[in-house]
Amino acid sequence: MLELRGITLRYDAPETASATTVLDGIDLTVADGELVVLAGPTGVGKSTLLGVVAGLVPSYTGGTLTGDVLLDGASIVEQPARERAHAIGYVGQNPAAWFVTDSVEEELAFGMEQLGLPAPTMRRRVEETLDLLGIADLRHRDLRTLSGGQQQRVAIGAVLATHPRLLVLDEPTSALDPTAAEDVLATLTRLVHDLGVSVLVAEHRLERVVPFADRLCLLRSDGAVEVGDPAEVLQDAPIAPPLVELGRLAGWQPLPLTVRDARRRAPALKERLGDPPRRDQPAPDADSAVDVRRLVVSHGRTAVLREVDLTLRPGTVTALMGRNGAGKSTLLWALQGRHGAASGTVRVAGQDPARLTPEERRATTGLVPQSPADLLYLETVAAECAAADRAARADAGSCRGLLDRLAPGIDPDRHPRDLSEGQRLALAVAIVLTARPPVLLLDEPTRGLDYPAKRALASLLRELAAEPGAARAILVATHDVEFVAQVADDLVVLAEGEVVSAGPVVPTVSESPAFAPQVTKVLGAGWLRVDDVAARLAAEVAR
């Protein structure tokens, strides 16, 4: 039904008289009732391609578009987005920024009002959509009070209510906890199966979407595009979910895409691998850098954190997981000192952070907030680094030195806004670390990072934690199970503001199906990472 022919997008840079090509001759067809996943490394133009389909690119981004977009054989490339709305429904990356009205019910009706559907139809479809997405009990709620997963479902519902034939989704699960992501994806599959809607979805976390995909479209950094059966395309893709990497390692053909497939083939591999690797626990007698006892934090009269106990030791990376709205960010800010405790004690490096001056806080804890851009306000990377050095009274160049370790080779004259997501995160981390805090807290650092970038971040955090002479305690709040498997020693799970499980990653993760990484699901408790498997296999070959 939808056909892209030779889509090419160029941004002209007048001052250098050169042009950057973002998309280069992309051909893609999406058939009726098909779920196509768009994958590729960061910055390759996935969102841009989706924007082209929806009609938002180039009108909102600039650039020169050549090629053709056909809907049922008719060219729609000249039509603006609003004239395509009846056939193509588009859900952008940050649904909260897209809401026009302020209650769930009105938001669902907005698109239909624009299309001029008769009132009885609208009434019926709103009810149907509420049920289809399982949000009927939210109908009167203010959109800003919803959790991330709920907002995402409302955004999908708002588009679905107009009954588009093609649904275009840009990273629908990137901000969601594993369970909410499963919900949204299950809803999507249901739409594909029951209503025959076609879906085109871009996603970084392939492990979440690939099991549902009919076809995979892989955009490579060199501009090439590969479309086909997911198992075949992933054979040598530069980005691959852990399951696929495991399959490649074990030489499974065709590659398994679901945990179930892989598990069926696992026994032979398990035999070769033997016992899971032993992990050294750091000496328990090391002085704790952070010590939280029976902490209660409340907003007004609702308790956000209830009786939370937490210990962070220098040299360890602790992951903090939990549903959207479980209190993860609040806990981080309580450790930083912005949220005072209603009762209980918080000790960071022996002191109560809520009593410290902002300067002392910065020297004890470094916090990288959810949107690192909030920290940045100057025109160039060099100016940001210099400001950080001055503020921390550090030697000139310390921030830049940190940045070079985190993300080498960033042009000092670039504007922080022009950096990639990963580079901007690195800059924020460098600025925060310039004050040399012994405790580092990160809130959702993996948003928008692809597999290689996430792996780089994980090894970097491990390095920072175990730095000789300056061991740090690191706490990372995240939804990304696979990232936790790569980075963390300990795992703390929050629910409704209470700690529901805490302890070393291996046992904690294997107890709960929602938080288990794919490798654990396939090979059983004790195995976390593909790297562990690779190391064992290599050792075996050497023997």
């Binding site: 909102y60 609003r82 809401f99 026009v100 009205t101 009002e113 930083q336 990288v368 306000y377």
Partner: protein
């Protein structure tokens, strides 16, 4: 009226008609007794009929504004009072102004008559303000926007978006402020100025990103679809509306300026209105949008609106035929007549006529 007592939102326009009626009623009198009764009526209606939404809390603000108006009025009278004969309450040293400000002297003796006149006037203005505040607290501002005629839909949506921008901006300001505390601030002589900048830059960038995203989102969902409307039709509608508005402007000017030819006054005004309304109707008919669950006028709406109009009309009649009751002056004790009492108390009807307000608690009860 059994169904009228079920919890639902009353049509916002009905509340505004009621409030404007009450405000008109207040403007026709300086009788403090009547004004106080009217204030009581407004407060009673607001307290029984408002919902638990954020805008419902704005009423208190208007009450304070009313108090401030009365106080300021009295203070100004004390300052500029001048020499009105009467019972002197206290005397302040008088400051005569130079000749070019002839006739004005500051401070000086302050009489009981002046105090009463200032209080009555202040009370009237305060009642007017509080009536408007009541409308703000009772009527859902967003639904009011949605009640605009279809031709004004775009403006209505823009206003709705603007209303929701303010809390978003506050959220983003709070977030950025917290984030900026995580890194050291600038030091030196212009610390303050640079401090403002490091808050403003991320907030503005955030607001800009957000508005671009919102525009894209609205576009992707079909906002501003022209459908089958041709450019010619659009131009014709536009020309009609603009010609109408020009006609209205000329008419109003001629109406107020007595030297202008009479032909330009009322006839021009009427013609302009007609043209503009025609343009709106035409534009409205061509609009392809529809409205989800529009508010409908039912019996309670009519009763509420009628009670406001009745109060306004009653007070107009009062000042027309019983001027002594409407404007008792400061020399005699203000009195109340039957007509006056009826005219004021008719505004309390919404307490029984309006449906119960929708609150979170009532919604919970429904679900059980």
């Amino acid at each position: 009226m059994g169904a009228g007592r079920l919890a639902r939102d009353l049509h916002p326009v009905a509340w505004w008609v009621w409030a404007v009626g009450v405000a008109v009623a207040a403007s026709f009198t300086t009788n403090p007794l009547l004004l106080l009764v009217l204030l009581g009526v407004i407060t009673l209606v607001v307290l029984t009929c408002r919902s638990d939404q954020p805008w419902a809390r704005s009423f208190r603000l208007y009450v304070w504004l009313g108090v401030v108006v009365v106080v300021v009025r009295i203070l100004f009278r004390i300052l500029l009072g001048g020499d009105v004969p009467g019972h002197v309450l206290f005397t302040l040293p008088s400051i005569p102004l130079p000749d070019w400000a002839a006739g004005i002297s500051l401070l000086g003796p302050f009489t009981r008559e002046e105090l009463l006149a200032a209080t009555y006037e202040g009370l009237r203005l305060a009642t007017l303000l509080i009536a408007v505040g009541a409308a703000n607290a009772l009527a859902n501002p967003k639904r009011l926007m949605k009640s605009l005629p279809p031709a004004l839909y775009e403006i209505g949506t823009a206003m709705t978006v603007a209303i929701s921008v303010v809390p978003q901006l506050a959220d983003s300001a709070r977030r950025v402020r917290a984030a900026q505390q995580l890194r050291g601030g600038p030091e030196g002589r212009f610390r303050r100025i640079r401090g403002v900048r490091r808050l403003l830059v991320p907030i503005l960038e955030d607001a800009f990103d957000r508005s671009l995203a919102l525009a894209a989102g609205m576009d992707a969902r079909g906002y501003g679809r022209t459908g089958e409307l041709t450019a010619q039709q659009r131009r014709r509608t536009g020309a009609l509306i603009i010609a109408g508005l020009i006609g209205v402007c000329v008419g109003v000017y001629a109406f107020l300026d007595s030297t202008a030819p009479r032909l330009l006054a009322l006839p021009m005004l009427a013609l302009g209105m007609l043209l503009a309304l025609g343009g709106f109707a035409l534009a409205g008919r061509r609009v392809q949008r529809t409205r989800y669950r529009p508010d409908r006028w039912q019996v309670p709406e009519l009763v509420v609106a009628a009670s406001g109009i009745a109060a306004g009309a009653g007070m107009w009649a009062l000042q027309r035929w019983e001027t002594q009751v409407a404007h008792p002056g400061v020399l005699v004790r203000p009195e109340v007549s039957l007509l006056a009492l009826v005219a004021v108390l008719v505004a309390v009807v919404p307490v029984w006529a309006a449906p119960l307000p929708v609150t979170a608690q009532r919604r919970e009860e429904v679900r059980v």
